[in-house]
Amino acid sequence: MTPRRSVENALLAGPLVLFLLAVLGFPTLLSLIYGFSETSFQTLTTPQFSGLKNFRDVAADPAFWQAAWFSLRFGAITALLQCGLGLALAVYLAPLARRHGWTVAILIIPMIVAPAMMGLMYRLVLHEFAGPVPHYLYSWFGWSPSFLGPANVFKTVVVAETLQWTPFAFLLFLTACQSIPEDLREAAAVDGTRPWRLFWKIELPLMMPTVFVALFIRFIDGFRVFDNIYTLVGAGPGGSTTSMSIYIYETFLRRGEIGKALAAAILLFATAFVVLAAAPRLLRGRSA
């Protein structure tokens, strides 16, 4: 490579690298320093090295493990529900969407609304006095569950997340479905293949890579959930809807345990790193 070319390349990549270093590199350094120190908001400028104490505190905190378990369950269940529903809708509505494109626009409205707003909207919709859902349940069945009570709150947040992000899965599957060559379907129709068999034997196998991508993305987004749960119920009754993100947020801002919050964030980062490094290999292994 000529010297001029390498100078050019440095100039081309430079802005992005500098930007990342400034906005993420330095904070990452900070979190490593403070994650291994004894700190509070009062002693922010004089952190005392404390080794692995913060990590031991996190590991000994049942709330941390409860949050990790919540996030795992929430991510897995919502990803499966969204992809199942999204796939069914996409395959079934594909002929409609092809002829009337605007129907797709109507179905993707939920994901253009801020998740935080969606959480607030569900607060209104489910409110026992002002909400239409309890109102109709009362007038039709004379009974309405306590949606945000300890017994139902997990189901409620799962349904809220699922209804908001099923459109994402729907959109991915719709695109995948429409990119299947039409003559494949026509050939199957000529052979007298029933629609149900067409789906299992031809469409689904061809869409399988998209299914894995969608499951993965939806799991990640479900795992790191914050906005909609926080605005709908906060940490939930007895901390029952404390996701990993909410746990770290509360540890930091509510309780001021900076070192502990950072230790939890570092653990989360390390886990995410391992998963992200392993995921492409797993996905490739499947398709091979």
């Binding site: 390349n9 993707i108 998740p115 919709v125 002002a130 605005t231």
Partner: protein, 275 residues
């Protein structure tokens, strides 16, 4: 119409109604007078009124919605434009010369999958030292990070679609690199840049966690401002006004998204599949 198609319309209508139900109910509530909400929570409005919107759009001691909207607009503009500025040169260098293909590109793309809270705490500490806490610029900078992965992916795709012959022809004509980038690559990438901007603007506008942590008063974005409205209204929540605030807050991205839905659906799919 064939019966099979009629059934599809029915399924579509049910899916659209259920998934959009909170949005629909909020819109309806926003047009109910204050007394009606508690008495009549149904989807029917007895006495439609604009007074909730009038109250929300009037500046008062308790609420200045224009301030929130301006904060969101300013931060979302930085959050959408800055990543394009830093990503386009890299996208070209990567596609044409392989710069950053090994480490930088996977690093940036994987940012998409990390829980944002990891960066929120150290950023809070850094911002409090450098004076960026509770500023629109500070908020915009981190929103730019949020948008960076998708921006890089979309622009790399866009540059890769430019036929190499066009650039070679410009090169033959003696165009140097800056000229090539500004006169050839930039105009050819314009459709992708518009898509990226719309997508980034909507994402940045809708972001909540960083707005919640990094702003307190001066730079509060509208997503966070709307949630104050639920928490701080003493006795009961004024549902009509709260609903009107939410409609106002959700409207800019919705309008942008629906007008341009063909563009953003395409880019969302591209981003997901390449990631």
């Amino acid at each position: 119409m064939k019966p099979r198609m009629t059934l599809r319309w029915i399924v579509f209508a049910i899916a659209a109604f259920v998934m959009n139900f909170p949005v629909l109910a909020t819109l309806i509530t926003a047009f109910k007078p204050p007394g009606e909400v508690a008495r009549n929570p149904s989807l029917w409005i007895e006495a439609p009124t604009l007074q909730n919107f009038a109250a929300v759009l009037t500046v008062s001691d308790r609420l200045n919605v224009y301030h929130y909207l301006w904060n969101s607009t300013f931060a979302a503009l930085i959050g959408a434009v800055l990543p394009m500025v830093v990503a386009l040169p890299l996208a070209w260098a990567m596609v044409r010369r392989g710069v950053g293909r090994g480490v930088l590109f996977p690093l940036v793309v994987n940012l998409r999958a990390l829980p944002l809270i990891i960066f929120a705490i150290p950023l809070y500490m850094m911002y409090s030292v450098v004076g960026l806490l509770d500023t629109r610029l500070g908020l915009g900078l981190i929103l730019a990070v949020v948008n960076l992965p998708l921006t890089v992916m979309l622009l790399v795709n866009a540059v890769a679609e430019i036929p190499a012959e066009i650039e070679e022809a410009a090169h033959m004509d003696g165009a140097r690199l800056p000229r090539l980038l500004f006169k050839v690559v930039l105009p050819l990438c314009r459709p992708a840049l518009i898509t990226t901007f719309i997508f980034g603007f909507i994402t940045a506008w809708n972001e909540f966690l960083f707005g919640l942590m990094l702003t307190t008063r001066d730079a509060v974005p509208v997503t966070v401002g709307a949630s104050f409205f639920f928490a701080t209204s003493g006795g009961g929540v004024q549902w009509g006004m709260a609903a009107a605030v939410m409609v106002v807050a959700a409207l800019p991205p919705l309008v942008l998204g629906l007008v341009m839905y063909r563009r953003i659906t395409g880019s969302m799919v591209a981003g997901a599949v390449k990631g």
